[in-house]
């Protein structure tokens, strides 16, 4: 039994299954999904890599359970229909069987729980953060602050369809993407200025509520430079679908250069007048309440 379990969960088997299901993702766009995608977005952080690895284990268990139940049902339909088996048996108990089908699921749950808890604690917080990004959810845009770089901040507002430039994805494009250095441990602090929002980037394995009056913490370490997209993932009112997240990951040197210009560009980042104009331009009702 144990041998069988070991075989099923061995690395080559896991790789085969993930290859089968993730076929085509190798050359997929990084940081967002593709038409007819049936699988996760390509992992861009160590956390998402571990989530995918854990999911490979889960998926094998899920498929085996469904196949087992459907298989038994098909056999029953074939073998125990009224024509094939006119006289029903009267068996109503079998203690051994009942112990087995209570015990084996428990055993499977333990197999799941151990890597699950490891992943949970790994994804929670980072001990040695090299920098911090503060994210504030607003109806209906994100505000980003860099407390370790002089504390400048700016808004990241949805770009409506008619203003998109060629190649910019609809509903995912913002005026000011949030820029982060790759291969850096970044602490994320999240809060909200109004209702609850949720800052989520699927390829990062990051998804955390922004709640007014609280600061939630998580972390990210982006493997490679590139553009990564996400959407608000907590219902936050009429324009919930229109507050995308665009993370531009750059090298550390480029990031330092960007910080220098951004400090000047966003010196007045918290002024309300330009913000109101921008929101109006993006067709976001100032007070839809």
């Amino acid at each position: 039994m144990l041998k069988l379990v070991k075989l099923v969960f061995s690395a080559p088997m896991l790789a085969a299954v993930s290859l089968l299901l993730g076929a085509g993702t190798a050359d997929a766009a990084i940081g967002r999904s593709e038409p007819w995608q049936m699988w996760f977005q390509t992992a861009a952080t160590p956390v998402m890599e571990r989530i995918l690895e854990f999911h490979n284990l889960l998926l094998i268990i899920e498929i085996l359970i469904v196949l087992l139940v459907v298989g038994i049902m098909c056999y029953i339909i074939f073998r125990f229909n009224a024509k094939s088996n006119p006289v029903p048996s009267k068996t109503t108990h079998n203690t051994l069987l009942e112990v087995v089908w209570t015990g084996i699921p428990l055993f499977i749950l333990i197999i799941i729980a151990i890597p699950s808890l490891k992943l949970l604690y790994y994804a929670d917080k980072v001990q040695d953060a090299e920098m911090t990004l503060k994210v504030t959810g607003n109806q209906w845009y994100w505000n980003y602050t860099y407390p370790g770089h002089g504390g400048f901040s700016f808004d990241s507002i949805f770009v409506p369809d008619e203003e998109l430039k060629k190649g910019q994805p609809r509903l995912l494009t913002v005026d000011n993407p949030v820029v982060l250095p790759a291969r850096t441990n970044i602490r994320l602090l999240l809060t909200s200025a109004d209702v609850i929002h949720n800052w989520a980037v699927p390829s990062f394995g990051v998804k955390l509520d922004t709640v007014g009056g609280r600061i939630n913490e998580t972390w990210v370490n982006i493997n490679e430079e590139g553009d990564y997209y996400g959407m608000c993932s907590e219902l936050c009112g009429v324009n919930h679908a229109y507050m995308p997240i665009h993370v531009k990951a750059v090298s550390k040197a480029d990031f330092a250069a960007w910080v220098a210009t951004a400090k000047r560009e966003f010196a007045d980042g918290d002024d309300d007048a330009p913000r109101a104009a921008k929101l109006a331009k993006a067709d976001i009702p100032a007070v839809a309440r």
Binding site: E62, V87, K90, T92, H93, K125, L172, M231, S233
Partner: protein, 544 residues
């Protein structure tokens, strides 16, 4: 007709059957069968409304972009709000006004007293008020949906979005009052069922001999009794936050928005078991009947439901994995949630073992029961995945969750409702449903719901969030497929309404026990339709 009844009753020397006629029979009803029928009619009406909401949602999501505007809405923001109201209304209506009234109020009222050999429910007048509170509640909810933009909060009503600043106007207040009425209705119903089942069993109908449907309703009643007051408390706090200046959920004044989530899900998680446990009961009866075998592992089945009900109260925060809970708290909720797989596994395997060795008639109720097992297992395994807080980072608030809970809880419960309907409609109406149409209904519905919900797993894994009216173009393909499924399902639902009409109007008359040797519970010992007063003499079960 009235005269005939009177003559017949006089001949029997009893006046139990003497009842008001016309509208008085229904408005003032204290008869468990009439009240049960009214619950089922209410459920059918609500299903039409809630189902239409879901089709509107799928029409909006069929293609990228905003599809259409409704004539009474003057701008796009109003339409986006209305979309959120559709999402909210679909959830509320399906949970509180379709599944619960059908499974608990409808089949529970009809068959719990009959199965235990009782003449009626313990508190017949309370039974009446339970029903009419629910009817009033539905009216309030529909009014709320069309008042000042409606409640666009989702059925979870999270503040601050649901507080007076972000939802001014009466819509959310009306919604809260509606839920209060529905809650009062459920608690009164629960008290009634518990008292009936504990005190009104026929001689020999010991607790450990009750049909599993009665067990299911008993467990459900306890869940309602313990969970609804927590919802009522939370709703009242929200109501006073909105109207009387309290600040339970307002962080700016020392309150906590996440407190609402804790309270809501302390109710909300048991609530999903309130929906699915009566379904377990129906499936057990149906599988046993058509396999012509007693249920396998009866005690295990009964206590699995008790255990599921108990564990259901200590896993609520798995709905809050991304709200910022402490990591150790999440670790506990992962472990507790995974445990639920054990009793649910016992149920699945016991159903299969009941069928094993049986001589199975695959009539329509049995088809729906087999469909239920498939859907429940599909949704069950994705539930095991979602139980893991680490994994949930990828799944939370995506369409994967939508697919999961529709499979495991919503559509599975609807399959149990259809199974119960075809199983018992002969007993309730005295008429046979059209057999071929019923089979077509099953296959259309089974294909339809799988086409709706299976692709949503892909959408969720690819990262599409829930509760959005428009989505990035990459998600267009599977959304289109899902919407096609919704149209197939609607066609099937309309066919079901036709079947109901056809059965009541021109179904052939049937005998007391239409299912033969497998149907061993007490309702099959009385004529069809079941007489207004079920048992002339208390059935004696001591020798059986």
């Amino acid at each position: 007709m009235a005269n005939e009844t009177t003559v017949a009753e006089t001949a029997h020397g009893a006046d139990h059957g003497h009842h008001p006629s016309g509208w008085r029979r229904w408005l003032f009803s204290t008869n468990h069968k009439d009240i049960g029928s009214m619950y089922i009619v209410l459920s059918l009406i609500a299903a039409f409304v809630g189902g239409s909401f879901s089709v509107l949602i799928r029409m909006e999501l069929a293609e990228p972009g905003i599809q259409f505007n409704l004539f009474w809405l003057d701008n796009e923001a109003a339409y986006l709000q209305f979309y959120n109201v559709l999402v909210t209304g679909h959830g509320f209506i399906m949970v509180f006004f379709v599944v619960m009234p059908a499974l608990i109020g409808g089949f529970g009222n009809w068959f719990v007293p009959m199965m235990i050999g009782a003449p009626d429910m313990a508190f017949p007048r309370m039974n009446n008020i339970s029903f009419w509170l629910l009817a009033a509640s539905l009216v309030l909810l529909v009014i709320a949906a069309f008042t000042q933009g409606g409640p666009g909060t989702g059925w979870t009503v999270y503040p601050p979005l649901s507080n007076a600043e972000f939802h001014p106007g009466a819509a959310v207040d009306l919604g809260i009052l509606s839920l209060h009425l529905a809650g009062a209705s459920s608690v009164l119903g629960a008290v009634n069922f518990i008292t009936t089942i504990f005190n009104m069993r026929a001689p020999g109908m010991l607790i450990h001999r009750m049909p599993l449907f009665v067990w299911a309703i008993l467990v459900t009643a306890f869940l309602l009794l313990l969970a609804i007051p927590v919802l009522a408390g939370a709703l009242t706090m929200l109501l006073t936050d909105r109207n009387f200046g309290t600040a339970f959920f307002d962080a700016a004044q020392g309150g906590d928005p996440v407190l609402w989530q804790q309270l809501f899900w302390f109710f909300g998680h048991p609530e999903v078991y309130i929906i699915i446990i009566p379904a377990f009961g129906i499936i057990s009866q149906v599988i046993s009947t058509f396999s012509k075998k007693p249920i396998f592992g009866y005690l295990g089945m009964a206590y699995a439901m008790v255990f599921i009900g108990f564990v259901g109260f200590v896993v609520w925060a798995h709905h809050l994995y991304t709200s910022g809970l402490d990591v150790d708290t999440r670790a506990y909720f992962v472990s507790a949630t995974l445990v639920i797989a054990v009793p649910t596994g016992i149920k699945i395997f016991s159903w299969l073992a009941t069928m094993w060795g049986g001589s199975i008639d695959f009539r329509t109720p049995m088809l729906f029961a087999c469909g239920f097992i498939f859907l429940f297992v599909m949704g069950g395994v994705t539930g095991v995945a979602l139980a893991n807080a680490g994994m949930d980072i990828a799944f939370h608030d995506t369409y994967f969750v939508v697919a999961h809970f529709h499979y495991v809880m919503a559509i599975a419960a609807v399959f149990a409702m259809f199974s119960g309907f075809y199983y018992w409609i002969g007993k309730m109406s005295g008429r046979q449903y059209p057999r071929v149409l019923a089979r077509i209904h099953f296959w259309l519905f089974f294909i339809g719901v799988n086409v709706v919900f299976f692709p949503q797993h892909f959408l969720g894994m690819a990262g599409m969030p829930r509760r959005i009216p428009d989505y990035p173009d990459a998600y267009a393909g599977w959304n289109y497929v899902s919407s096609i499924g919704s149209y197939i399902t609607s066609a099937s639902a309309l066919l079901f309404f036709y079947i109901v009409w056809k059965t009541l109007r021109s179904g052939e008359k049937i005998a007391a026990n239409q299912w033969g040797e497998g149907a061993t519970t007490l309702e099959w010992t009385v004529e069809s339709p079941a007489p207004f007063h079920t048992f002339e003499d208390t059935p004696d079960m001591t020798e059986k």
